[in-house]
């Protein structure tokens, strides 16, 4: 019983670690632009499809090269979404931007299906050896990679936001948009770069997920947007540390619910948690702040 509990906790943390960068990217866009990007997951999915396509054409490409392709393609797809859905509505309606991003979601899924028509596409596996066994617990090497990546992404993002000139511009723009513009900061350019950064983070996370599963489907976009949205909401909308905490909670709750209640009730428990949070503490999702 205790061993199960520990094993579930370990698996949950690993799953949470793989959600964390996805949630960070989603929360970064939401916190800076104050707009929900439903095409966030699909753009990452398209990046992974580009890597899968490259893998099929050039089987000699290593994991590093494929990860670079996934990241670059995700950034390009993210930039496309920003130009079409968010740049035109910078001063306008947040709902218009969200609806436009929903329309592009459908388009990105179509592109992926046209690129590789089979429903399930093979993806190179991250690791093909045996999982590690430590004190009776099973630890997958992929889980270690996810945890290390999540930690690295958090550290890198913190360094960018709190140590760089670009980070200063991002935080100034969120804190007081008019004063930032009067200081010479260009909102359109900063928003675009924030999108590119969030897409790069998402592309890395998505590649890891695809390589862990050793396959991808067009549904990956839906899956990524949902995990990012759920973790961001659990963490209080728009807060970056909150998004990471939300991702870990999401992973843990899913792992335990699946073990004790079965896979059918797993997602139900997650939504119940979100519902209880909203019902008990409606102010949980207050005005978003970036830090």
């Amino acid at each position: 019983m205790l061993a199960d509990l520990l094993q579930n906790t370990l698996d949950g943390l690993a799953a949470g670690a793989s959600y964390a960068p996805v949630a960070l990217g989603f929360a970064l866009i939401f916190g800076v632009l104050r707009r929900a990007n439903l095409s966030y997951g699909p753009a990452i999915m398209l990046g992974c499809y580009a890597a899968a396509l490259a893998h099929g054409r050039f089987p000699g490409l290593g994991l590093g090269a494929l990860a670079a392709i996934a990241l670059l393609a995700a950034v390009l797809a993210g930039a496309y979404v920003e130009r079409l859905c968010f740049a035109p509505h910078r001063r306008g309606s947040a709902v218009a931007a969200m609806v436009a991003s929903f329309a592009l979601w459908m388009q990105l899924e179509e592109i992926a299906t046209l690129m590789l028509p089979r429903h399930v596409v093979a993806f190179p596996a991250l690791y093909e050896g045996e999982p590690l066994a430590i004190a009776g617990l099973v630890l997958r090497v992929e889980a270690l990679a996810a945890i290390a990546t999540a930690a690295a992404v958090c550290a890198l993002l913190a360094a960018i936001l709190y140590r760089s000139r670009f980070g200063l511009a991002v935080r100034a723009l969120v804190a007081a948009p008019l004063a930032a513009e009067l200081s010479g900061i260009r909102p359109a350019r900063v928003f675009f770069l924030v999108f590119a950064l969030a897409s790069a983070i998402g592309g890395t996370a998505g590649f890891l997920v695809a390589a862990t599963d050793a396959q991808i489907t067009p549904m990956m976009g839906l899956w990524l947007t949902f995990k990012g949205l759920l973790a961001t909401m659990l963490g209080g909308l728009g807060s970056l540390p909150g998004a990471v905490a939300g991702a870990l909670v999401l992973g843990l709750v899913e792992a335990h619910a699946q073990w004790f209640l079965g896979p059918q009730l797993r997602d139900f428990v997650v939504y119940l948690l979100l519902f209880s949070l909203l019902a008990a503490a409606p102010r949980w999702m207050r005005t978003p702040s970036p830090s």
Partner: protein
């Protein structure tokens, strides 16, 4: 003296409502010029148009002989015009020092640290609070920070929108002392004020704006102060 800033027939509108209905004025290099007028007369609209936040529908704004109307804000800051906005608008959640670095955002020269040091000498209270969250400063300190942040861009012309708004009388005195100091050190200042009494004490030249039009221009003393104050607060229509 020559005109550093020349505004000609400027029209700025929000939808169908014209907030500026053909404003013309000049700010002489090395002067303190003041714009007085009642609420809703278009003072803030004029400042925001000069700074490039609002696009004028017609007219021109020339700074040091160069047309800057319809240019984006970052180009106007880069050209040497900085606006201290109404209500101060510091960056809360960022330290005082980070606020000042943000003011130097466009600069690539190596003298940013030296300028920071000079500003800390001018505003010792900001040095004491350099690591503190700007959102926790008092109103007067926030106003000082907003002015210092604008100075970090090394402006030739400093625009100030209602710097005394909502501040205690002693703090207002201090803000106007800073305005006089900045002027003495060579900065040209164009100031919007509701506090006509204080403004007339420092200004070399002033304009009255009412309902989007300049209705009077002169030196302090060319119109009885109580008359200026009445029109600055109430507008001539309601006299």
């Amino acid at each position: 003296m020559s005109a550093m800033l020349e505004v000609r027939d400027l029209v700025t509108a929000y939808g169908k409502i014209e907030a500026l209905r053909g404003v013309s004025l000049e700010v002489q290099a090395g002067s303190i010029t003041c714009l007085l007028g009642p609420n809703g007369a278009g003072k803030t609209t004029l400042m925001m148009t000069i700074a490039g936040i609002l696009r004028p529908r017609a007219g021109s704004v020339r700074f040091a002989g160069r047309e800057i109307a319809r240019r984006p804000p970052h180009e106007i800051v880069g050209a040497g015009v900085a606006l201290v906005p109404e209500n101060r608008l510091v960056f809360p959640g960022m330290s005082v020092r980070e606020n000042l670095y943000a003011g130097a955002y466009l600069r690539r020269d190596g003298e940013i640290e030296a300028d920071l040091e000079r500003l800390f000498e001018r505003f010792p209270r900001l040095r004491e609070r350099a690591g503190q969250d700007a959102g926790t400063l008092s109103g007067g300190e926030q106003q000082m920070l907003a002015v210092a942040r604008s100075l970090m861009s090394r402006p030739k012309l400093l625009l100030m929108d209602e710097p005394s708004l909502g501040l205690a009388p002693l703090v207002v005195e201090e803000i106007f002392r800073i305005v006089a100091d900045l002027h003495r050190d060579g900065t040209t200042i164009f100031l919007v004020e509701q506090n006509a009494h204080m403004a007339l004490r420092v200004a070399h030249h002033f304009y009255l704006i009412e309902q989007g039009r300049i209705t009077f221009s002169g030196d302090p003393g060319s119109l009885a102060e109580d008359e200026v104050i009445r029109r600055a607060y109430l507008g001539s229509a309601r006299r």
